[in-house]
Amino acid sequence: MKNETPVTKLFSRGLLQENTIFRQAISLCPAIAVTSTVKNGFMMGIAVLFVQAMVNVSVSSIRRWIHPRIRLPIFMLISSGWVTITDMCVAAFAPDIYATLGLYIQLIVAFASILAAAESFASKNGVIASFFDGVGRGTGFTLALIAISAVREVLGKGTILDIPVLFGSKPLLIMILPAGGFITAGILMALFNYLDKKFSNKATA
């Protein structure tokens, strides 16, 4: 392919510039729903990463045969197929995690980010580029989930990955409640904006 964007650039774009959660603010539901512990956040992130990469690869490998008018239903079919596979794998190999994540894993189908990536990138680019685009977006998503869940787990439960870190002091219950999730996400998003502004100002100055 001509004028191919370097792999690292594809990767970092999904990771930072177009970070699904902090930047595009789509697919927010799981970002709040499953981030009460780092473990859950991480698992959810991995599931999304897998689906995103696989959908991108499948869409890009059959992109020549998809008629533009029916592309959305096709993308949805492809993504629901991969989501079903992921759903069954998690249910089989990690039943305890599945108990809390199950519904949200099934709902990856309705993720705007996956359809958006298929539509805007995978349907126009080669298989390898699409793979790395998917992995980049997925990693960005995973890191965002880990960031949110780390804050919530430390403040809400006083642990990180089930290891106690707040010696003696009482955890704040609100942080693991739904409300804490929204507030944490909002504050982290503001922080991301702030750092981004500062960083890009420095670059231009």
């Binding site: 539901c29 729903a33 189908v109 309705a110 999730g181 929204f182 503001a190």
Partner: protein, 197 residues
């Protein structure tokens, strides 16, 4: 009979207030943050949403119980439900355009948005997981739609006020909306004791 009715009412209240989709189950957030900027759009969206939700809950219940269970295709539920919902949305779009053009002109935009909403897919999945009856799944659809409507309208009114407030720069736009949602969610936890287990 009246006992049955009370049970259905209980599902409606539980799914709209106690397990409010936006504030305690965190679903449909994309749309929630997307259309909650103006009260008028919020109202239009909520009406369309509640209608589609009830119809799709009913349709997917029928498909699941009369087609998928006899054919042992339960594992395909994600694929089938998204098909049913997308088909329904497309169909109601076409029907509305033909029968009620005025209504379509007002609400048509929202219909297209709905098919990629996770709530609309969550309702059939939850009602299948809970093994709800036909009426119960419709009640769940109605309750979830109402709950979403409450959330959307509350949020839209708050955000209209916020336009005038002096918000710190990095918080402008979405971040402050998140923080506010968190506070409203905190208020909604007060409903959790409403129905005795």
């Amino acid at each position: 009979m009246s006992h049955e009715f009370l049970h259905l009412l209980e599902i409606v209240i539980a799914s709209s207030l106690i397990n409010n989709f936006v504030f305690t189950r965190f679903l449909g957030l994309c749309i929630f943050f997307g259309v909650s900027k103006k009260t008028e759009t919020a109202v239009g969206m909520s009406i369309t949403f509640t209608m589609v939700m009830m119809i799709s809950a009913a349709a997917s219940w029928i498909v699941f119980n009369y087609l998928m269970i006899p054919m042992h295709l339960e594992f395909l539920k994600i694929v089938v439900f998204i098909g049913v919902v997308a088909g329904l949305v497309q169909a109601s779009d076409t029907i509305m355009k033909k029968i009620a053009p005025a209504l379509f002109h007002k609400l048509g935009v929202y219909l297209a948005l709905i098919s990629t909403n996770c709530i609309i897919l969550a309702v059939p999945i939850i009602s299948v997981d809970e093994k709800y009856s036909f009426l119960e799944s419709i009640a769940l659809g109605l309750g979830s739609g109402l709950g979403f409507a409450i959330a959307l309208i509350l949020m839209a009114s708050l955000r209209e006020r916020l336009e005038l407030a002096n918000v710190p720069k990095p918080f402008k736009g979405l971040p402050i909306a998140f923080v506010i949602t968190g506070m409203v969610a905190l208020a909604f936890t007060g409903f959790s004791g409403l129905i005795a287990e």
